[in-house]
């Protein structure tokens, strides 16, 4: 097998890895959208916020240190302790649940029944708000996040695969982190599906997704469900945040990368979990391949827009997405 082709494959594999993370964020969107019809632009920022909080807690940072210091002339920064990763994650999950509750109670409960586009804009507002809060609490400097996920190229894969090609091929370079990420992601999806299928809340959640009124009439509390999905979305975001954070540091760009989930959704359709996954993979692979093949010719950095243009073109020809079903318009 020719090296080029093999490198191509490596690109694809890396693309798949990236795609998994897109899918992860997209998953958060789908959860909320299905249950409440809200298109949560803030999902990406939630990932950032989750990651920031996690780092903050682990390193025992004093929240809102800047303001406090500025107002009271103090010089606090650290509590002086560090929190073990696992405990920190649990705490952060708690924070995300609290956040979910607040978001629902203070914002979206008052917007029930509004047009989708209004809700969408509200989530943009939420995104700004969270980003600001995140920075205020933990400071906006880039942080490294280490929850003990193995990093660096996986020799095992490298050695295993190096045999495939000639001497000018040194085997696939795949980051362990990506592998972990994929595994976690797959587990998470499986978990979610199980949750949706086999638990009472899960079934309630699906009932709501199908038909609000019907769900209400069988005595399901919408408010509870909505808080629930926001919490789930929050956790998914957290996981995504951890992965991205571990990969490329916790910083604002994280929320921008998460934006990629939008085109992913437009491919996959807003209502289908498999759609989100497949879409994620397509985008991941697509943009890597495009950058690898066409990129050099047109000055590179095409990941910035490839996903969006792809989604755009795709939509023009299939407005309801990959898995969405056709809508018959009535008068």
């Amino acid at each position: 097998m020719s090296a080029d082709f093999l490198y191509m494959i490596e690109v694809v594999i890396n693309g798949l890895m990236a795609g998994v993370l897109y899918a992860l964020v997209a998953l958060g969107f789908v959860l909320i959208y299905k249950a409440s019809g809200i298109f949560n632009y803030a999902q990406g920022v939630m990932a950032l916020f989750g990651a920031l909080t996690l780092v903050g807690i682990m390193e025992g940072q004093v929240p809102f240190a800047h303001i406090i210091n500025a107002t009271f002339g103090t010089d606090l920064h650290q509590f002086g302790w560090t929190v073990p990763a696992l405990l920190a994650i649990l705490l952060t999950v708690g924070v995300m649940i609290l956040l979910a509750w607040m978001v629902h109670t203070f914002v979206f409960r008052h917007l029930v029944g509004q047009e989708p586009i209004i809700l969408f804009m509200a989530t943009i507002g939420l995104a700004y708000f969270l980003e600001g809060i995140g920075d205020l609490m933990w400071g906006s400097d880039i942080k490294t996040l280490d929850v003990g996920i193995p990093q660096g190229g996986s020799l095992w894969v490298e050695n295993l695969s190096s045999g495939l090609g000639g001497e000018d091929f040194y085997g696939f370079f795949i980051d362990k982190l990506d592998i972990t990420a994929s595994v976690v992601a797959i587990l998470l999806v499986a978990g979610l599906i199980a949750f949706a299928q086999y638990t009472k809340q899960g079934r309630a959640m699906r009932a709501v997704a199908d038909d609000h009124q019907a769900a209400l009439s069988v005595g399901i509390s919408l408010n509870f469900i909505w808080v629930l999905v926001w919490s789930l979305a929050g956790m998914v975001a957290l996981v995504a945040g951890i992965m991205w954070g571990a990969k490329s540091g916790v910083q604002f760009s994280l929320s921008l990368i998460a934006l990629k989930a939008l085109p992913v959704l437009m491919l996959g359709g807003f209502t289908s979990i498999p759609g989100a996954i497949v879409g994620g993979l397509i985008i991941g692979v697509g943009e890597k391949l495009f950058e690898y093949t066409i990129g050099p010719m047109i000055g590179g950095a095409t990941e910035n827009w490839f996903a969006y243009v792809l989604a755009l073109l795709f939509l023009v020809f299939r407005p309801q997405g990959l898995f969405g079903e056709r809508i018959i318009e009535r008068v």
């Binding site: 914002v107 700004y128 205020l136 095409t302 969006y308 989604a311």
Partner: protein, 358 residues
Amino acid sequence: MLYREAGDFKTTYAADSQTFPIRSDRWRYFAVLAIAWGVIPFVIDDYWANAILVPFLIYSIAAIGLNILTGYCGQVSLGTGGFMAVGAYSVYKLMTMFPEVSIVVHVILAGGITALVGTAFGLPSLRIKGFYLAVATLAAQFFLVWLFNKVGWFYNYSASGQISAPERFVAGVAVTGANTAPWAQYLICLAFVTVCAIVARNLTRGSVGRKWMAIRDMDIAAEIIGVNPLTAKLSAFAVSSFFIGISGALFFAVYLGAVEVGEAFGIQKSFLVLFMCIIGGLGSIFGSFAGAAFLVLLPVALKVLGVDLLGWPSSTVAHLQLVAVGALIMFFLIKEPHGLAQLWRVTKEKLRLWPFPY
């Protein structure tokens, strides 16, 4: 309470459908124009021009543009930043290619070019609706920014990758370039704002505007009563982009002078203008001004409060600003989805009915 309408009756349809049917409103409008043109130019200083008035005017044009698309025609766009960039780079190319032609012409042409680009990116709106479209417009945003970054021709292969506006004159007065007087900057922007606002009003009051609004309120019904969605939506995209292009051109040539596309016209810009429309009021020209004023003044106010008074680090204040803006957006969408303009309308109604409650 301030209104005295008895005896203010209309004998022609023209008079009945004029922009300010109530006499006192008409006077207030003329007063504002008089001050804007006759007083401010003489008192304006560098701080007011650069910190408040010029950005306010330029953003007003952008907000009007986006409001036409989103507020009147119901098509949400997150590509404003990208379109402003088109305006900026068009004017830059024109200025450098045809130095002898008047900058005014260039700015207008820049608007025209942006209109073309906008129309092209508007085509999908025929197939996709709502936030599908919103997300699709992100493609324009990212692609355009990337384009101006990568393709040297646009920034004349300058080493920095930046573009900077050469000095240009209107009636012998420098309006772009390093040594432009504040009042000159202000006046040229004011001129464009005045014209744009009037044009926008004219477009939204007549048949074109009604087509847009019909599409916005119920596109199927609109089509069945004879509105061609293609022309309606594309014209909205074209007009909207035209205004946004002009604002982009002014933003670069008159206000900043030198621009790096990523930071000047990034996605943040798109949101900023969108927020201006939401806070100011979708579907209202006045709202566009109100929103622009609000979001231009907010940072200034926060800075004065946070940095100057409380002595907080400016980065913290910047974050605080994010929080404030985000919170405000959510607040307005919950409390008053039609923004400041609606608040104004309601107050006005109350004043007209005074002392009665209804």
